[in-house]
């Protein structure tokens, strides 16, 4: 009973301090704004430059592969493996492109070589058409598409335009769905964006509240009261997490709402945030909240070890770089798999979950493991913080 009321008393005071101070509120909301700006710049570059591994070999399925093109392929040493279409089931191959098991589907007209040989560009009749199906939301497929089109383009000009590529306007050659594009884009961008957003939100409050109080000597005033160190640790972390959650949610909302506009993608059908359901957003929120708990308690422990806010910032910076690297890794390799147990690794698990949620390719067990592991780590860190508050070496260090 007393325990709970003391925790509440400590929490209330922390909340009052942050929400009652205009300057503090601004500091809290600023990171979101900054990243928002950064993001609009980054968004563009990212869409253009989705990366594919250096040594990747594209899988191409071709129908009616003409001898001439085959010869060119053989001579050019391109990173392509071409196989013949399995028995003319075009829909199945297109589905494979959509799913990413096949990067490119090329359909030549039957007897392409002889049709090209007899075609007269002046005749006015349509030239033989090569149809290439690809998926723009997959960087591999886009890569294969540009390799194949440039190869055929040069062949075409050598032949004085005796055939066309993807001329038909009534056929969708890009097999990506708007969902694919949104999902891939967000799953690459969001881990880094969100984690940095959350981290800076936590960094704005925790060192101030813990190292700051230590530096100004007001923490010692608390330590002579009957307040238990565990109550102090728990109350502080709970309140700081709440504050960080408000700032985190604020920034996240801003980003999500401005996302389609920023990308100019609504009309182009590029971004469709409506594709996520309530369950997806609920999972995302849960991951965000548990990540904030981890960040706040990690930063709090470091702040308790520091003698001043300045020293605390210095100690937190390497942690921030680590978080950045881990989430940046998630952006470079959205499909990297450390197995399900990888979801027990803090920060990495958050990055993977966020990426998974945005590409709609997550498993409930992954979210669960993440939440459990983050909760366990937070509990440990709260205990550690209580121990630090109890340690005269840490509290009264000269």
């Amino acid at each position: 009973m007393r325990m709970r009321s003391n925790v509440l008393t400590v929490m209330k005071k922390e909340l009052r301090r942050f929400f009652g101070d205009r300057r503090m509120v601004l500091t809290m909301l600023l990171p979101g704004l900054l990243i928002f700006v950064l993001y609009s710049v980054m968004g563009d570059t990212l869409v253009k430059g989705m990366m594919t591994p250096e040594d990747y070999v594209y899988t191409v399925t071709a129908e009616h592969m003409p001898a001439s093109v085959q010869a060119m392929l053989d001579g050019a040493d391109l990173p392509l493996t071409v196989s013949a279409a399995p028995g003319g089931d075009a829909d199945a191959v297109r589905e494979a492109v959509r799913e990413g098991t096949v990067d490119l589907y090329v359909v030549f007209p039957p007897d392409f070589d002889s049709a090209v040989a007899v075609y007269d560009p002046q005749s006015g009749t349509p030239a033989p058409e090569v149809r290439i199906y690809y998926n723009s939301s997959s960087s591999q497929s886009s890569g294969a598409y540009s390799v194949m089109t440039s190869l055929l383009d040069s062949y075409e000009s050598a032949l004085a335009n005796r055939f066309d590529i993807n001329r038909s306007t009534d056929t969708a050659f890009d097999l990506a769905t708007p969902e694919d594009t949104t999902g891939m884009f967000l799953s690459m961008l969001m881990p880094m964006l969100l984690l940095m957003l959350l981290f800076s939100g936590c960094m704005a409050v925790a060192p101030e509240s813990i190292a700051g109080e230590k530096e100004r000597g007001t923490l010692a005033t608390l330590l002579v009261t009957p307040l238990r160190r565990s109550e102090l640790a728990f109350g502080k972390i709970a309140a700081l997490s709440l504050v960080a959650m408000v700032s985190g949610t604020w920034s996240f909302l801003g980003v999500m709402l401005s996302l389609p506009k920023l990308m100019g993608g609504e009309e182009a059908g590029l971004v469709d945030t409506g594709m996520y359901g309530v369950a997806d957003y609920a999972c995302l929120l849960a991951v965000i909240l548990s990540t904030i708990l981890v960040f706040v308690s990690l930063i709090s422990v470091l702040s308790a070890l520091a003698r001043s806010v300045k020293e605390a910032s210095g100690m937190v910076t390497p942690l921030m770089i680590l978080v950045m690297l881990v989430s940046f890794g998630g952006m470079l390799f959205p499909n990297a798999q450390a197995g399900t147990l990888g979801y027990l690794i803090p920060v990495y698990n958050s990055a993977q979950c966020i990426s998974g949620i945005f590409s709609l390719s997550y498993q409930p067990v992954e979210i669960l493991l993440t939440l459990l592991s983050n909760a366990a780590l937070t509990a440990l860190l709260v205990l550690l913080l209580a121990r630090l508050f109890n340690s005269e070496k840490v509290m009264f260090k000269r």
């Binding site: 007393r2 009321s5 003391n6 008393t9 005071k13 009052r16 301090r17 009652g20 101070d21 109080e213 100004r216 000597g217 007001t218 010692a220 005033t221 608390l222 330590l223 002579v224 009261t225 009957p226 307040l227 238990r228 005269e392 509290m395 009264f396 000269r398």
Partner: protein, 258 residues
Amino acid sequence: MEPILTASHLKKTFTLSQKQQKLEKSGSRVKVAVDDLSFTAYRGEIFGLLGPNGAGKTTTLRMIATLIRPDSGDVSVGGVSVLKDPATVRNRIGFLTSELKLEDFFTPDYLFGFFASLHGVTPEVAAARKAELFSRFGIDRFAQVKVANLSTGMKQKVSLVISVVHDPDIIIFDEPTNGLDVLTAKVVTDFLEELRSRGKTVILSTHIFSLAEKLCDRVGIIIDGKMIQCDTLEAVQAGESLEERFFTLYRDCVGEEA
């Protein structure tokens, strides 16, 4: 006379960092700050720990206030051991030093309520005590002003008031008049005398002889972590002024070691 606080054979050693070692001009890694120190304080008296800077006064008071643990020895506060039940001890004492500060962002009014709540004082009792203490120290007019905007003297008064929110029987005060202007210092010493008249026990530390002579019923002289003499003020003075007496003791003490 009823003993209310007994310190027995307190010892505290600090391990010095390289930097501190140079500062203290000490050749050894360890510093014995308090060395086998014992004394007893009785109900309703003002007890003074008197000694030069670095003698170990603050360290002793911190051990009593449960902020740091003695390496050996114990303090019994109203029969409760600081080692076995620090939480109860914290509830029985009020601890104040000029190093203990209040957060700038809050008002005296809010902080009083906050600390009252941590001490488990009911809101009704807290409100009555606040009214009494705030008017006694002229804080009422500043009750809603943030600590940051108060004068140094007013800050000190607010700290003093807040250290006794829970009406403790024992008040521990490290260098009570340090850094105060004469007017605020007078307010503080008057309050300490008032507490004594209400049957409270005050344990203070000071390096100012005149303050000890004016306030204390009994004094303990600490030099280099050791209790050199502990008795009533008159007995320690032995017909001399406290200052003369101290230097006699100091010479004896340092001479002994040399």
